[in-house]
Amino acid sequence: MTIPIPAVSAPLEVVPDDSVTMAEPSAPPGGEGRSPGRLAWRRFKRDRTGVVSAYVVLFFFVVAICAPLIAKVYGKNPYTTYGQNDPSLLNDFGFPVKPNGGISSHFWFGIEPQLGRDVFTFLIYGIRNSLLIATATTLLVTVLGIVVGITVGYLGGRTDYLIGRVIDILLAFPSTLFFIAFWPVLISIMVSPEENTPVWLTVVSLISVMTAFGWAPIARLLRGEVLALREREFVEASKVTGASPARIIFKELLPNLWTPILIQATLALPMFVTTEAALAFLGVGLSDPTPDWGVMIQNGAKYYESDITFMLFPGLSMVIFVIAFNLLGDSVRDALDPKTKR
């Protein structure tokens, strides 16, 4: 969690040697000057909720990254139908013989009804896939939002007006509906209706649909920030010295925008995790043999009346992840932007 340091405040810390009597305004009482990034980091470390949720979020990402390793140590994979290979695991109705979804020392989180797959490995691989999609979407949305927002805000005029209307229209679309409605169209552009869609194509199309309709809020926010920033003296000064627009955007404006960008990105990631899961739950997007949080919840929904265990593992883990990430987002905002009241 290193936070890029806004360059503007750096000159304040250079105090001439002979001005002993002059108070140093930016230095905290602790002694040596600290950059805003360090100050935010100190504030963040003091926020206990934030630190705990950061560990929880980190734990999920470590599990996601190490999923193949964990599965190897654990000795199972998410695809083998253990229940069907070993008739003692499932009863005649296809449900686990042991109580609570067949939890045992061999199957930590139990086994799935009917197919008899291992719930634990399916879950960690599901977390892996969901987080991969959500992270990729967040990165793309953020980059697109930054590029559009800053360019439009800095250029202003007709470009601003046009893109502004595009953003308005995008925000007027009912997003969930549009995700599910546009997805089959996108798939049909890439694959003919008679063929089966490969998994990677599903992933790519999911990411592109969510990106296409997800960049508007962040672009709008950054546009507003840039509108205020571009009138400031330091931008004018660099304009006077003959800096190119690209230099002004990347060297002058961008360093001042990391705070809103970081806050928006931390809020966006859990949103994309839940959006992707909701789509899978509705039967749009990733589907069964591919492990995924939403696919698991959809499977759990089939059996929840007989045994809610299969619903609880993916459901609870997702709720914990999203709550932790939202708390983390709040703490990041408090640390970076202590003036805003919640």
């Binding site: 229209i169 007027a172 679309f173 009912p174 969930t176 509906l177 549009f178 599910i180 409605a181 546009f182 997805w183 089959p184 169209v185 996108l186 049909s188 552009i189 003919s192 209706p193 859990p270 839940t274 899961a277 909701a278 739950f281 509705l282 039967g283 749009v284 919840i297 759990g300 929904a301 929840y304 009346e305 809610i308 619903m311 609880l312 459901g315 997702m318 709720v319 999203v322 709550i323 939202n326 708390l327 709040d330 009241k341 919640r342």
Partner: protein, 326 residues
């Protein structure tokens, strides 16, 4: 007021035209074989040929769009399939029926779901937000704030199913969600929708608590509120007649958007509880590759948002005298 409304309605028509053109382009032009998609999953070569002829795929694009627009006002004949009467949004080759009729059939369910949960989330969300703003920094405020954060992190498809398992299957407190028409059996309607209302409202409640609180906190620190207090008005009068009135505007705007969104179908809630509203219709349309239906549902949903936006903007002026309609 009249001029304002006329201008806003004209603007809305333009936006709807743009949205319809974009959706039309996306749905009928982008796919490799729109006729094959429009024909649906159960498609024989004969029907495919018919669909192709009926959609006029061979015509140039603007002509296709023009025919589609024309159908809105004059209706359109789909040869052997049948006639689609005047406000024709398209013809579903999957159901063999005009799209609009199918959507209108589902509308009562969606409307009941949306309005019922709106009552719940406005009551609880705004109430909790008011309480939190008045008792700023006290325990009530902290509880409301953290509850709203947790609430906004919950997902309908998880909480809904868990609630259904415990409240309906295990403890038999509530009856199984179902959509009984209000006109047929008011009590059954109420019982059948109670759980979906509360679960759907859960997520909105959290947002409204947060927004109400922050709007009110801001309004309470405004100069006009201080003036009202200095005049010696009672706390109640200051709160409701001044602070609340100032805070209400932005809330109303969001409420309009949310309600508009809900009129387009609460997709996930309907799927979770097995209700047959517009949301379920659109999910079915995706699974059946029913392109005309998707286009129709998207337009109706976008239209609901645009229309409610106008209503809200007009109401805004009544509430907040600082807003000029011009």
């Amino acid at each position: 007021m009249f001029r304002f409304l006329v201008r806003r309605i004209l603007g809305a028509v333009v936006i709807l035209l743009i949205i319809s053109a974009i959706t039309f382009l996306l749905f009928y032009v982008a796919p490799r074989d729109p006729a094959r998609l429009a024909c649906g999953k159960t498609c024989t070569p004969q029907t495919l040929a018919l669909v192709r002829r009926n959609l006029g795929i061979a015509d140039p694009l603007p002509v296709q769009y023009w025919h589609w627009l024309q159908a809105l006002f004059t209706g359109r004949d789909y040869a052997s399939f049948g006639r689609c009467p005047a406000p024709c949004l398209g013809y579903s080759f999957h159901y063999h029926e005009p799209v609009l009729g199918l959507i209108l059939n589902r509308f009562p369910t969606t409307l009941s779901l949306a309005l019922g949960s709106a009552v719940v989330f406005v009551l609880f969300g705004v109430g909790a937000g008011m309480l939190a703003a008045v008792k700023q920094g006290r325990t009530v405020d902290k509880v409301a704030s953290s509850a709203s954060l947790i609430g906004s992190s919950l997902q309908i498809y998880i909480v809904g199913l868990v609630a259904m398992y415990y409240l309906v299957d295990q403890w038999h407190i509530l009856s199984r969600p179902q959509d009984i028409p209000l006109t047929q059996d008011p009590m059954g309607w109420f019982k059948g929708l109670l759980l979906p209302w509360f679960i759907l409202a859960l997520i909105f409640t959290a947002n409204y608590t947060r927004m109400t609180r922050s709007q009110l906190v801001e309004a309470l620190s405004e100069d006009y509120v201080r003036t009202a207090r200095a005049k010696g008005l009672s706390r109640r009068a200051v709160f409701f007649r001044f602070a609340w009135r100032g805070a209400m505007g932005p809330l109303l705007t969001i409420f309009g958007l949310d309600l508009g969104g809900l009129f387009g179908g609460a997709i996930i809630t309907e799927a979770t509880f097995g209700l047959h509203g517009i949301g379920a219709l659109s999910v079915d349309a995706v699974n059946n590759n029913d392109l005309p239906m998707l286009l129709g549902v998207t337009l109706v949903a976008a239209g609901a948002i645009v229309v409610l936006n106008i209503v809200v903007d007009a109401l805004y002026a009544f509430i907040d005298p600082r807003v000029r309609l011009a």
